[in-house]
Symmetry: C2
Subunit: 302 residues, 2 copies
């Protein structure tokens, strides 16, 4: 499919992509680059790439597809470094969780003979680093691409085919709409999870040891996404400020309404909401985006 693919940033997503590319034989040559030399060494050790480079210019030389897999706050600077060395006709994409700000950062530096089509695979785990990757991460997940009017249909189709080869389904979207959808399906859930874990850690009346022991009551679910990469998530909130603040405003408004229902003992209101939310879970399971097993299919003794 491609002669040469370069992965820029070899953390969870970059290394998972490498495994998926290998599994499907998508590239003759696969190059990994990371600005962190220790990450380069660890990625080299895994042995999934043909070559691991610590020099961004060398990493992208003659590459047909370049995939930016760094935190979104680091994309502009790395792209400025590689831009003058990109092969004519190359496709550049990224995997950032925010699209409008990434486009704003990257687009001014894209050479005329290179095509930039932003992507966002809705897939991940709470782990990070080169060793956390695995080939099936993208299987059955959705990838949103946000090609602009200038992107050639041919290149867009090729990028779409790439993600499909990696196991995903692809949907096209406007960048602004992407940022709004992800604010509710991903960014706000992370913010709330980080927040409640922080609240629990700072209580005076309940010890950390109690929080840990009795976490199976529901709290432990939140700790999973609150264990996600701190730099990645800092950058998401700094770069999708408006949409996150809008969703947060709605969440808080609804929560205040629930708080009032509890204070005044309005059981019907609580019961109504709690019945409706079950349906959404069923929809997600039916859409193949969640396991049907109770407790996420955790081992029964976990």
């Amino acid at each position: 499919m491609f002669e040469k693919i370069t992965i820029i940033g070899v953390g969870l997503i970059g290394s998972s992509l490498s495994w998926a590319i290998r599994r499907e034989g998508i590239a003759k040559t696969l190059i990994g680059y990371d600005s962190n030399t220790e990450h380069c060494e660890r990625f080299q050790k895994i042995g999934v790439a043909d070559q691991v480079e610590n020099d961004p210019q060398k990493a992208v030389a003659d590459s047909d597809l370049i995939i930016l897999c760094t935190p979104v706050g680091a994309m502009k600077s790395v792209f400025q470094q590689i831009a003058p060395h990109l092969k004519s006709g190359a496709i550049v994409t990224d995997v950032g969780s925010v699209k409008a700000s990434v486009i704003e950062d990257i687009k001014p530096f894209v050479p005329k003979d290179v095509t930039f089509i932003p992507s966002h695979p809705i897939a991940g785990t709470e782990q990070s680093g080169p060793e956390a990757g695995f080939a099936s991460l993208f299987d059955g997940r959705w990838v949103i691409i946000t090609p602009d009017a200038g992107a050639s249909a041919e290149k867009t189709a090729l990028l779409k085919a790439f993600w499909e080869k990696c196991g995903s389904q692809v949907e096209e979207m406007e960048p602004k709409h992407h940022d709004l959808v992800l604010a509710i399906t991903s960014h706000l859930p992370h913010l709330i999870a980080y927040n409640i874990v922080g609240t629990a850690a700072h209580l005076e009346q309940v010890t950390s040891s109690e929080v840990i022991k009795f976490s199976a009551g529901g709290f432990r679910d939140f700790t999973r996404i609150a264990a996600s990469d701190p730099i990645m998530w800092r950058d998401v909130f700094l770069n999708n400020k408006e949409a996150v603040l809008e969703m947060l405003g709605r969440f808080t408004e609804d929560l205040t309404d629930l708080q009032r229902a509890i204070r005044y003992g309005d059981g019907d209101k609580l019961h109504d909401l709690f019945s409706k939310t079950r349906e959404i879970r069923r929809g997600i399971v039916a859409a193949g985006q969640e396991t049907i097993e109770p407790n996420f299919g955790r081992n029964k003794n976990d």
Copy 2:
């Protein structure tokens, strides 16, 4: 261990207890009761109990251990029905998620020759009904018991041994403290999960189908506990009002602070919090209260 045990309410917890009692051979005779005749029939079909009764008086006759497994709002009325028919020397316990209000509801009706020791197993799944139960639900989980000063050491030790046989570890606590600990480790997480799922369902700019499709970004995690039994959870919030409102106040205060950090672009503050919360997850995994597998050990393609 007991000649006869009666389970009052044969939903997820009641049926799981039945399976655990069978697995360990804890009772010679196991009786199930439910006020809902359809639940009785379904429980009968499963075949785990020796006898299924729709008459509470018959269900508790000669029983040595009676376990109330109804929603906490239903306990008072069912207990008033069974109280005059309890065997002298019997132990009564419950599995309610709130302790102070259950004690207030039950204690005035406990006969002098019967011992009531409240329990709360910190275990469950998002599923409900007689068919949702399984024997290993309590394995490795904690059970909090809140015996009062009047409870005999012998009966307390017997109840503790019962829960340990079911696979759990037991901790004693004051009822008020229990309610505070569970407000943060269980009740607030449920409230927030129900709330965000509700918020997502009511958006005009993002469709339900988009919320479902792209839920793997984090949102789907919240839908699990937001799929929990609506009546059980309505009753929890109505009966642990003060502690929930206090924890909710702290959560909202912290969230407002985070909101401000996002608005003013305070990346350091975000990064600091996001780094600390990772540690709590590690503590929970190390304490054996969570799987070490990424994504809760979901099947890789789920």
